[in-house]
């Protein structure tokens, strides 16, 4: 029974190709990135000398940073594949399929998409291995043989990714199972508490104090530990106050809005500042990290060159840290772009009936598109710039010095932020066909 109905559901739906291709691509990118980083990290763990510990802990930090957006991307992709079938699943439910059957179908589909994407991701990784091998660490390329993961990891990865997607699908589908009509009613727009701001200011102050102490302390290991604490704390703060700030700005924009697109965009952000934050929060993390790490490395680099003590070991270490930062930043921007694309496709499908009706009323699709872009880009700008500024403030003593001794590294950071915003914009643009289809019905 399940097999037969699953086949029925697998036929192309009204959502169009973009909605099926996006989750597959997203899972592919996630898998490829994960394997790339794991492959690189694996090399570090073969080293046994005295700096190897440092490399290993840095690799772990990078992995953790990549896993966070990865999990949320996995969730978004699973929700999209569930969303694509919502209507049919709801129909099935009305026809009397048991919740168990409906859930099983959704899980099967989400897992199948994830599996397909993950297999493609493994292939992409295998193709990229020679290139990854060229990345220099400790002054020499890692080497293809070094970064190639053992075969069982390559087999296990797609299975793990598919299992993750299946789990997210179970959670995302509760709605359909509960309500056969699939009706989602919206009540009062959720409010966010001012306590967030107080908590936020507190942690930033604490992080600032910590950084000032570091300015005196000068012991490398202590420095890194404290950096990690300040870094993690500030990230947590960003998560606390981000949605609150987004809400404040959106409600001002609602009042000022003069065109339909601006009104729609501001209202939809205000509807769920948390959702808006979730969509762009990854960029906050990345831009924060870019400033944080960029300033640090720029400063240390300048200090090393200045001191002229030409310690080749620490120069090499600095270069390696810079390489690692670059890889992590690029990776997380890619994931953010993927999850914006996937999240937007899901959001459009969620409201397909509404978009269709607006088209009937004569609202130009260009207006809908403008509203949708603005609803993502406006919080994104706030988020990217805001977190960069907070990072700069936390590191104020260091930022100030860097501004003088290594202005170029700050320029690089600004460039990276601009590129990141551009990548997210691309993620929006590729979902335009989904909107066109939804509006045309």
């Amino acid at each position: 029974m399940i097999a037969r109905v699953a086949w029925l559901l697998a036929r192309p739906g009204s959502a169009g190709a973009a909605a099926s291709v996006l989750p597959v691509v997203a899972f592919g990118v996630v898998t490829a990135l994960l394997l790339t980083v794991a492959g690189g990290a694996q090399t570090f763990f073969t080293w046994t000398d005295d700096t190897s510990m440092l490399y290993q802990s840095l690799a772990v930090i990078a992995l953790v940073l990549l896993v966070v957006p990865l999990v949320s991307l996995g969730g978004a992709a699973a929700r999209l594949s569930a969303r694509r079938r919502d209507d049919r699943l709801a129909t099935l439910r009305l026809l009397g399929a048991t919740p168990g059957v409906v859930r099983a179908l959704a899980v099967i589909e989400a897992a199948a998409f994830a599996l397909a994407g993950a297999v493609l991701g493994v292939l992409a990784y295998l193709v990229a291995v020679p290139l990854i091998g060229l990345i220099p660490f400790r002054g020499e390329p890692l080497g293809a043989a070094g970064v190639l993961l053992p075969w069982w990891v390559l087999v296990a990865a797609p299975i793990a990714v598919a299992a993750l997607a299946a789990m997210s699908a179970v959670l995302g589908l509760r709605q359909v199972v509960i309500s056969p009509l699939g009706v989602r009613t919206r009540q009062e727009a959720p409010r966010l508490h001012w306590i967030r701001v107080v908590a936020g200011v507190g942690v930033v102050a604490f992080a600032y104090a910590l950084m000032s102490v570091i300015g005196v302390a000068q012991v490398a290991l202590v420095l890194i530990t404290m950096l990690a604490v300040a870094f993690g704390g500030t990230l947590a703060v960003l998560n606390l106050i981000g949605p609150w700030v987004i809400r404040l700005i959106a409600s001002a924009q609602v009042r000022r809005a003069k065109t339909p697109a601006r009104l729609l965009a501001a209202r939809s952000v205000l509807e769920s500042p948390k959702a808006a934050w979730r969509q762009v929060g990854g960029v906050a993390m990345t831009s924060f990290m870019a400033v944080f790490a960029g300033v640090g490395v720029g400063l240390l680099g300048a200090a090393a060159a200045d001191g002229g003590n030409g310690d080749p070991e620490s120069a090499m270490l600095l270069a390696d840290v810079r390489t690692g930062i670059l890889i992590t930043v690029v990776g997380s921007f890619l994931m953010v772009a993927c999850s914006v694309g996937v999240g937007q496709a899901a959001a459009i499908l969620d409201r397909a009936d509404l978009y269709r009706s607006l088209d009937m009323l004569g609202m130009p699709v260009a207006t809908m598109e403008a509203a949708r872009r603005r609803a993502v880009m406006s919080p994104l700008r706030v988020t990217a710039v805001g977190s960069a500024v907070i990072a700069a403030i936390v590191m104020l003593p260091l930022t100030g010095i860097t501004l003088i001794v290594a202005p170029l590294s700050l320029a690089v950071i600004a460039g990276v932020l601009a590129a990141g915003i551009g990548i997210v914009w691309l993620g929006l643009v590729v979902t335009r066909p989904v909107l066109d289809r939804a509006a045309a019905g």
Partner: protein, 264 residues
């Protein structure tokens, strides 16, 4: 009094092997309320969408008589039809399909803002319509905070606020109980034919059809029957619609409708 506002001839439309419309001729008279009935799948929605310039028929023509002459709806491009729908037509759907994150007044005002009216003026007009439809005091509510009947009245206000010459409604009472349904239908009739405008309504409900001035019945993509309802077209209403059509066709944002009289 044989003036018509929409004239359709020889409409056909197929979806794959399904013939949704198999040759429909229909004239919608100025100021009338026309009910389209028929079994599920008989082509009612498809016909409504063709008349309103939402769907292009495979063959046949639709003409809309505006103040500046006959507009060949079926020959217009996508953008022009979109503009025609925005400026000359109003729509009420079964589920309301209002924008959930906007307030009631913003939903209504949006229709005017799309035609270029400044927001403050648009909201002022919208408030007038909401009040006329018995929704005074609920303007700032979001759609999720309204009952089905109230939401449907907001949808009616949105369809009327631009001064639409013709209002198309697809099962506007389909999701309501019979008492609410009667209220909403009263409001819909009052704000359309009651003010000289034209109403085309697809319905399964005989009570709704009984309140319209004319009923056509569809089967298998054709019109198979027609009867005059109890209500007749008001001559004064017919005269006034001409003036409104002219204003709407001029395409000015100032062509917004003004609610008149108490609610039905």
């Amino acid at each position: 009094m044989s003036s018509f506002v929409i004239e359709a001839a020889g409409l056909t439309k197929s979806f794959g092997s399904a013939h949704a419309l198999a040759g429909v001729d229909l004239q919608v008279r100025t100021g009338e309320s026309l009910a389209i009935m028929g079994a599920s799948g008989s082509g009612k929605t498809t016909l409504l969408h063709c008349l309103a310039g939402i769907t292009r028929p495979d063959s046949g023509t639709v003409g809309f008589r505006s103040g500046i002459g006959l507009v060949p709806v079926t020959e217009l491009g996508e953008r022009e039809r979109s503009r025609l729908r925005r400026e000359a037509f109003g729509f009420v759907f079964q589920q309301g399909l209002l924008i959930p994150e906007l307030t009631a007044v913003e939903n209504v005002a949006l229709a005017l803002m799309l035609n270029g009216m400044p927001r403050a003026t648009a909201e002022q007009h919208a408030r007038g319509w909401l009040a006329a439809l018995g929704l005074a005091g609920l303007e700032e509510r979001r759609i999720g905070q309204l009952s089905g009947g109230q939401a449907q009245r907001v949808a009616i206000a949105r369809a009327q606020v631009t001064g639409a010459t013709v209002v198309f409604a697809d099962e506007p009472t389909g999701a309501l109980d019979s008492q609410t349904s009667a209220d909403v239908m009263g409001a819909l009739l009052h704000s359309t034919t009651g003010q000289g405008r034209t109403l085309v309504v697809v319905t399964h409900d005989p009570d709704v059809a009984a309140r319209c001035s004319r009923v056509v019945v569809m089967r298998d993509g054709r019109i198979v029957g027609e009867r005059q309802g109890a209500r007749s077209v008001h001559p004064a209403a017919a005269a006034r619609v001409e003036a409104q059509a002219a204003a709407a066709a001029a395409g000015s944002a100032g062509a917004a409708g003004t609610p008149e009289g108490p609610r039905a």
